[in-house]
């Protein structure tokens, strides 16, 4: 296959556009999940909260306002085809420039600090959090998700013992959702990574924030596990905003990877109902 050239400016422009769109226009996946939740929700207060959130989504999309004032850490999952050649600038620089422009032009909040201890705002929401993977082909596929800090803070990771098994995994995931409670802005998307190494499990969980809400894992075993975990989490009674109800989570996303004979890592990355994501292929 011949090398295909992709101009860095095109990447910047695509990123600029997608960060604004994702932050103002919540996707059909989430709107559909709200409608579905209203069929099973029993609490009148919870139903009125879902109505408010839907009204908010409408205002944000019509007026091009951020759905949530926390417009997130700009997270990217980039699949780079090994036959693609980027010209004009580095790939990371091109993405960061798109974030810089998009957050400024879209009147999105800058929430990123220069250093975790010094804590000075960089004022343009850079740097983005970028994860790259090399894949076959000559295209670049960019996935973006704006990740809020409140839900991120309720995420947890645990190195289970292999003897803890599947039951141990379920118990841990439900415990994390339970402890997240109202802090993480339920209804949630509970993103779970099982297996790999310490860091790989966290990355697997993070992958869930780029997935269409409720799209099942392609492996039927894990698709069933997602449904079982969703039922268990909704049985907690936390409900929208934690005020009580049957809709604590809209979906559970599970991702897995092989792991060491001694290990069973499980990571849970909590996502709020502001599940703001877009993707583009260049």
């Amino acid at each position: 296959m011949a090398i295909r050239e992709i101009e860095a400016g095109k990447i910047t422009e695509a990123v600029r556009k997608m960060v604004i769109e994702a932050n103002t226009d919540i996707g059909e996946d989430i709107l559909g999940a709200f409608e579905k939740a209203k069929q099973t929700e029993e609490s009148p207060l919870a139903l009125s909260i879902i109505d408010q959130i839907e009204e908010n989504a409408g205002i944000a999309a019509r007026e091009k306002m951020p759905y949530c004032q926390d417009t997130g850490f700009a997270c990217f999952l980039v699949e780079v085809g090994q036959e693609a050649h980027i010209t004009g600038a580095g790939l990371e620089d091109a993405i960061n420039e798109g974030v810089r422009r998009g957050y400024k032009e879209g009147y999105l909040r800058a929430s990123i600090l220069n250093d975790p201890i010094e804590r000075k705002n960089t004022k343009d929401n850079t740097p983005a959090h970028i994860h790259m993977e090399m894949v076959p082909g000559d295209r670049i596929h960019i996935k973006f998700s704006a990740k809020g800090g409140g839900s991120e803070n309720m995420s947890q990771l645990k190195m289970l013992k292999p003897s803890d098994g599947l039951e141990g995994v379920k118990e841990f995931v439900v415990k994390v959702a339970s402890e997240a409670g109202p802090n993480a802005c339920p209804p949630l998307i509970v993103c779970v990574g099982i297996g790999g190494t310490f860091d790989r499990s966290a990355f697997l969980a993070k992958k869930g924030i780029f997935r269409e809400a409720g799209k099942p894992n392609p492996n039927p075993f894990y698709a069933d596990l997602e449904q079982e975990l969703l039922r268990k989490i909704n049985d907690l009674g936390i409900g929208p905003q934690g005020l009580g109800g049957r809709t604590t989570a809209l979906a559970v996303h599970v991702e897995v990877f092989p792991c060491h004979i001694a290990s069973l890592p499980v990571a849970v990355n909590i996502q709020c109902h502001a599940h703001r994501h877009r993707e583009v292929t260049l």
């Binding site: 609490s43 009148p44 409900g239 502001a274």
Partner: protein, 187 residues
């Protein structure tokens, strides 16, 4: 159906502080003060040094918010609540200073609830992630102090029918516990 919202003036009157109960749905009209992590840290540091705050908190209601930037001609950007527990370390001191209400989202610590009961203060929740909707109820916003903190500066906001729910009342009743218990199912 839920009961129609109670129309409440802010700052809160003494009567309203006592009257509001966990689970009440309210529409707030009047003036709110805003502050979040960085402003709380500075306020408590000033108090610990025996210095005066740039804003008198006596009788005020504080809203934990870091708004997104206002577009030209707009009062404010999106402005939903942030997680309250990050303020827990500082809140008891500010409640002792005279706060009668706090608006945010999420759990409060036992120390905060004890201070609320002792000094009579109400904790209300706004809907996290309903930031564009909430912005519609904010009619005016001005920075009162610490402009250098950007989105985290202390602001005075004039609000009309700002939607909120009483989560923890001045007697310590907690809607998070009551609501969850009611809809919990055990296998």
């Amino acid at each position: 159906m839920t009961a129609p919202p109670l129309k409440i003036r802010v700052p809160l009157s003494r009567e309203d502080v006592e009257r509001l109960k966990a689970g009440d749905v309210v529409h707030l009209t009047g003036t709110l003060i805003t502050g979040r992590d960085a402003a709380h840290k500075r306020m408590v540091e000033l108090l610990e040094r025996g210095e005066k705050l740039p804003v008198d908190l006596k009788g005020q209601v504080i809203y934990y918010v870091g708004p997104s930037p206002a577009k030209p001609g707009e009062v404010i950007g999106s402005a939903g609540p942030t997680t309250s527990s990050r303020m827990d370390k500082y809140s008891p001191r500010l409640i002792a200073e005279g706060l009668t209400g706090m608006i945010g989202k999420g759990y409060r610590s036992d120390a905060v609830v004890q201070a609320m009961k002792k000094h009579r203060c109400v904790y209300m929740g706004a809907v996290g992630g309903a930031a564009a909707l909430i912005a519609k109820s904010i009619k005016k916003s001005e920075v009162l102090a610490w402009e250098d903190l950007g989105t985290e500066a202390i602001r005075r906001m004039e609000v009309e029918d700002f939607p909120a729910i009483v989560i923890i009342d001045a007697d310590g009743n907690d809607l998070y516990k009551i609501g969850r218990e009611k809809y919990k199912r055990t296998a």
